[in-house]
């Protein structure tokens, strides 16, 4: 027990953030005069106490005398009505506390031991006429009950005493041995183990779902019957992790109906890549596909680039900040864990959330218990999570988007991706290959292991015990990760100190070690060697814990000394936890006792096969029937301020997109600062090549036509890159399916249609998939305000991310119109395709034709675009997507802060022509002197609409003026919705 506890409070003498912070909470409806913030450090030690003078020295180390003051064991004096202290619950990552501890250790040259720590917390001092109800709401807005502890005191209660001193140490009283589990049970009882978990002999409670179905449990029972013994809890938990949907992707792997006997992954995704690679022959761009933590393509003769996009949905619903932070630093490890370690060089984000202006009354429990977080809270939380994760890691985050739809209120989708760069070879050794060999030592590097993430996001009954650690959600520690990322990718890799590396993600050690064991043919793990965050964890917990910021490496014995020495110098914790073998078995020991001994073959391939059935979903909608307005001015401004179209620039400026020095085309472009579709980044400073990134996502098409939805996503992703000058031949794709209710035949049919679209689109464009990820059950099941059961499922969502290599970034084209007198064209054909469009969503109409894609025509057009860009004929280019042609034209004008005078052709209703979301189109502007050369390339496929110039945006059809708006008014509408963020 810590015997000495001291509390240091640090406050700004003049806090520059005070007006912004106060204003923000006022805008949320709180009657606050001021909201002050005090940083609190609670220092708990056992081996020594600090003298008052030493505590003063600590206070000085933790504050800045120019603008801050500190107090030791004395409450901060200030004018306020209520004091609200927000700290962490036991076991939650506390980065500021860790930094303070390191500072104290360094200053006094002593090390904190067990039961010694520094805990950080934030003390809000609120003044204002807060009713008890408002105070409660304010507390809820400042803290998340899943990760935070909160203490509130009135001015009177605070007077003289200040806040209580709290030291949230973790205390466990677990059974520290492995038990066996009897599977010779009736099916009903077996099924219960699968659904609710193993019965814990100590507590008499279930440990949380294994998510194993009856067939899988039978397979496990039969395997252990053959071995003549009962499985241990370690073995059962381990199999549940390895066989999980998350790891084995059973829905994409299983046979489906009669026409997909090999499963959707092999039939649609992998087959597309194989077909394309075979057709490209020597021009194949793929280096590593599907098998590693990321996919990789050729960048130039010396380098390759990797890419991976992950989702982190369930954790983000519970703790948006921690969920998104863990998402981005987690996918960074898919880069560090690619081959022998690639350097993360670009981050990607994407958020599907509910409308932040709504507050749906949805609850996880009956009687209004456990409400969901409101969409705005989720949105701001995930934005901040990637802010902290990406910025602290020194990785630029230029590429991303947000999409709003009411069906994301229960389960937001948080996409996080990372591009990496690495030399193709070093010392004759290809760096994308890795191979653990028998005898290599298993080394765990990075953070320590706690109960984080065990059984994912299920609410553990233990959460009721105030000293039990938080397990449901995790908060990342980007600096711990940055430390090992630097030493691995910038030092150890090039010193050839290890033979294989992988990330600890889902399933923790149980998955990373077992995965690498495939390379050597077996493993022998000494689980008691694993360093823990706190004592008292059971072996099964250590084995499957998802504590963040860890990698597993295979280090040859002769290099272990050099490896460990380097890690120690960089203050990175590294521990030998076993040996890779060639026994064909995964053996785990704990305190000298074997707690797991399973054939690798059974562990990886013993999963019983499934055969899925689908049922077509008929969707028949009448074509929309609404009158076309005479003037479209209001409609234009309304469309520009729709949340899926308007500016979310506050995210782009919060996310560092210039670090590493490769910024070429960033997230916002032009004098008018409009958000771009695609970005371009130099990742090898000495090269003129660049990495282009773009994305495509059309959830509003899914229910109408999932096949076309997939084609639309692929087309938009490819076209975004073509518009900045990336040639089609260099483009690779990544797929992220975020489906719902994937146990329903109708949803599976939609999945199948979308997967077929994925095959046709990729093969049509010759753009191979290099990596992908799926998340099949994005459903929220809960209750409304009257305790009626409610299920909210996300619309079937497919994100296609495209990555391509720009041959010469000096030829790249930005989106903004640039010169008076330049010609404005739309390249490509416009059809009556309003189905799922932003226009119909604005009108509240579901239905219509979803845009179709003529891939062959598109391919020819995109080749011409590349030709025109390489010849320097385009002053700007921008793909037409959400909102259709009018929105694209308006964005090009706003970005250039320059007007346009345009005339649209007859033959189609103006609103249909202007808002149809037909695929394959670009808006381009061309200098008059380039007109001839430009038209010679495109012929009739480029339609001249008018000219750039002036300060007014004018659109007419024949004699009729449809729109006449100052560009400034359009810019205001475009930037208004999130202007206050």
């Amino acid at each position: 027990m810590a015997s000495y506890v001291h509390r240091i409070e640090v406050q700004y003498t003049r806090d520059p953030r005070l007006p912004t912070r106060t204003e923000r909470f006022r805008s949320l409806g709180f009657p606050l005069r001021e909201l002050h913030l005090v940083d609190v450090y609670t220092i708990a030690t056992a081996q020594r106490d600090f003298s008052p003078e030493e505590l003063s020295q600590i206070g000085a180390q933790l504050s800045n005398p120019v603008v801050q003051r500190y107090s030791v064991d004395r409450p901060t004096e200030a004018e306020f009505d209520y004091a609200i202290e927000v700290g962490f619950l036991p076991g939650v990552t506390d980065n500021a506390g860790t930094t303070a501890r390191q500072t104290i250790e360094d200053y006094f040259n002593f090390q904190f031991g067990e039961e010694e720590a520094v805990f950080s917390s934030q003390l809000y001092l609120a003044s204002g006429d807060l009713t008890p109800e408002a105070l409660q709401r304010l507390t809820a807005a400042l803290a998340n009950p899943l990760v935070n502890r909160v203490h509130v005191k009135s001015r009177e209660e605070y007077a003289g005493k200040g806040m209580d001193v709290v030291t949230p140490f973790v205390r466990l009283h677990e059974l520290q041995t492995a038990g066996t589990v009897d599977l010779d049970l009736p099916d009903a009882e077996l099924a219960r183990i699968g659904k609710e978990g193993i019965l814990d002999p100590a507590t008499g409670e279930r440990r949380g779902p294994l998510a194993l179905d009856l067939a899988q449990l039978h397979a496990i029972r039969d395997y252990f019957r053959k071995l003549g013994r009962k499985p241990t809890d370690v073995e059962l938990e381990s199999l549940a992790q390895t066989w999980s949907e998350h790891c084995k992707h059973t829905i994409f792997a299983s046979a489906m109906d009669d026409d997909v006997p090999r499963g959707l992954y092999k039939t649609c995704i992998q087959a597309a890549t194989n077909t394309i690679r075979a057709a490209k022959g020597e021009n194949d761009i793929c280096v590593s596909v599907f098998t590693d933590n990321s996919g990789a393509i050729v960048f130039d003769d010396e380098h390759l680039v990797t890419c991976k996009v992950e989702t982190h949905n369930s954790p983000s619903a519970l703790d948006p900040f921690g969920g998104a932070l863990t998402g981005i630093v987690g996918v960074n490890r898919d880069t560090i864990g690619f081959g022998l370690g690639a350097k993360p060089c670009i981050n990607i984000y994407g958020y599907c959330v509910g409308d932040p202006d709504t507050e749906p009354a949805l609850f996880r429990g009956k009687n209004r218990q456990n409400p969901i977080l409101p969409p705005r809270r989720i949105f701001e939380g995930v934005v901040r999570g990637v802010d902290v994760g990406g910025n602290c890691s020194g990785i630029p985050t230029p590429q991303g988007w947000c999409y709003f739809h009411d069906r994301y209120v229960g389960k937001p989708l948080v996409f996080a991706g990372t591009v990496g760069v690495m030399p193709r070879a070093r010392g004759g050794r290809p760096l994308h290959e890795k191979q653990a060999r028998p005898g290599d030592l298993i080394v765990m590097v990075g953070g320590r292991v706690g109960k984080d993430g065990i059984h994912g996001a299920t609410f553990s009954s233990e959460a009721l015990d105030p000293a039990s650690p938080v397990t449901a959600v995790q908060i990342g520690d980007p600096i711990t990760q940055k430390k090992f990322s630097d030493v691995i990718v910038k030092e150890a890799r090039d010193l050839d100190l290890y033979r294989s590396i992988t990330d600890n993600g889902a399933g923790g050690l149980s998955c990373s070690v077992a995965e690498m064991a495939k390379e050597s043919g077996g493993c022998h793990v000494l689980l008691d060697r694993v360093p823990l965050k706190y004592p008292g964890m059971a072996p099964w917990e250590i084995w499957i814990s998802e504590s963040q910021e860890r990698m597993t490496l295979a280090v040859p014995e002769e290099k272990i000394e050099a490896f460990m020495d380097l890690m120690q110098k960089r203050e990175v914790e590294a521990t030998v936890i076993g040996t890779f073998t060639d026994t064909g078995r995964c053996v785990v020991e704990y305190n000298g006792e074997t707690v797991m001994d399973v054939d690798l073959d059974f562990l990886h391939d013993g999963l019983p096969k499934k055969h899925l059935r689908t049922e077509p979903v008929e969707t028949v909608y009448p074509e929309p029937d609404v009158p076309c307005p005479d003037r479209l001015d209001d409609l234009l401004l309304t469309m520009l301020s729709r949340k899926n179209i308007c500016s979310k620039e506050f995210i782009s400026t919060r996310y560092d997109h210039t670090v590493q020095g490769g910024h070429v085309l960033g997230p916002v472009q032009g004098a008018g600062r409009v958000q771009a579709t695609a970005t371009l980044t130099k990742v090898v400073l000495g090269s003129m090549k660049g990495v282009g990134l773009s994305q495509g996502l059309f959830p509003s098409y899914s229910e109408l036509d999932p096949y076309r939805m997939a084609l639309a996503a692929i087309d938009a992703a490819v076209r975004g890159l073509v518009a900045i000058g990336v040639p089609m031949e260099t483009i690779a794709l990544l797929d992220n399916f975020c489906w719902c209710s994937s146990d329903e035949p109708g949803r599976l049919w939609q999945l199948k249609r979308a997967a077929f679209g994925c095959y046709d689109g990729a093969v049509g464009f010759g753009a191979p998939y290099i990596s992908g990820k799926d998340s099949m059950f994005n459903d929220f099941s809960g209750f409304d305000a009257d305790s009626n059961p409610v299920k909210v499922s996300v619309p079937p969502t497919l994100l296609i991310t495209s990555i391509g290599v720009h041959p010469d970034v000096t030829t790249a084209v930005s989106m903004d119109a640039k010169f008076d007198g330049d010609l404005v064209y739309v390249v490509g054909e416009t059809s009556e395709e309003l189905g799922g469009s932003e226009y119909l969503a604005h009108l509240g109409i579901e239905g219509g034709s979803v845009p179709s894609l003529d891939i062959e025509a598109a391919k020819v057009r995109y080749g011409r675009m590349t030709d025109a860009i390489q010849k320097g004929l385009l002053a700007s280019a921008f793909p037409v997507t959400h909102g259709g042609l009018l929105v694209a034209l308006a964005k090009v004008a706003i970005a250039g802060r320059i007007g346009m005078d345009l005339a649209i052709p007859g033959g189609m209703r103006p609103d249909t022509y202007l808002f149809s979301e037909s695929l394959g189109r670009f808006v381009v502007t061309v200098a008059p002197s380039n007109r001839e050369a430009f038209e010679a390339i495109f012929g009739g496929d480029a339609h001249l609409l008018g000219r750039v110039g002036g300060e007014t945006f004018r659109v007419s059809a024949g004699e009729q003026t449809l729109i006449k708006q100052p560009v400034t008014a359009m810019e205001t509408a475009y930037k208004a919705p999130f202007g206050g963020y």
Partner: protein
Amino acid sequence: MARANTPRALIMSGYGINSEMETAEALRRAGMESDIVHINDLIAGEKTLTDYRLMVFPGGFSYGDDTGAGNAYANRVRNNLWSDVKEFLAGDNLVLGICNGFQILANLGLVPAFDQDRPREIALMPNRKGVLECRFVTLKPAADNLWTKGISHLYCPVSHGEGNFYCSEETLARIEREGMVAFRYCRDDLSPADGEYPYNPNGAIADIAGVTSADGKVLGLMPHPERAMEFVNLYDWPTRKEWLKREGKPLPTESMNMQFFRNIVNYFER
């Protein structure tokens, strides 16, 4: 190892510093080789400060900005390397801190350093908007010194959560009087930003973006010239390119920001 007649730069790294590679590249292009050295290797004595003429604290998020941006890293320097750093400062050497590096210098008291005690006299507080701000800014030299020579303006990104320069009125008066303000945020036409967002992106008093030490040998700068070394790194390069093309002029490869690094190299070649 560095030869005495070839001035070499030591670029600090570790604990979340992240701009060491592009900083080394900018110096290399300007004509100066450097070694990226983890602070623990300096503390362990595996590298020696006296082998170098320029010490750079690059940008980053050391210790995740916890306990105040640059504070924890500054503590590590002060608690372990203080006498070496003081000795280095006494020689004919330069120290540069960019962004997180400036925050470290401010916490170490290496700027403004009116006297040898080097107390903390300036602070880089959280930005007025309370969040990180990443955008291009225009900087105008406010003094004629070794760092600003031949620079009409710089155009480069800021990317920080805590760059809001603050000091007492007396300190400000003295910094101004002694010509220690090296760069100020300004508008596109180089007129003063006068505190107006976004030209002054963080609320810094007197639009201060960079200051030197009293002896002029240490510079702390919030914006990142090393992140916009090339013409194509500039925010508005596509527009500039179209102008140049239509005027029949060639495209530059370098940006104006390289002069900043050349000035450092020129100092050692004088």
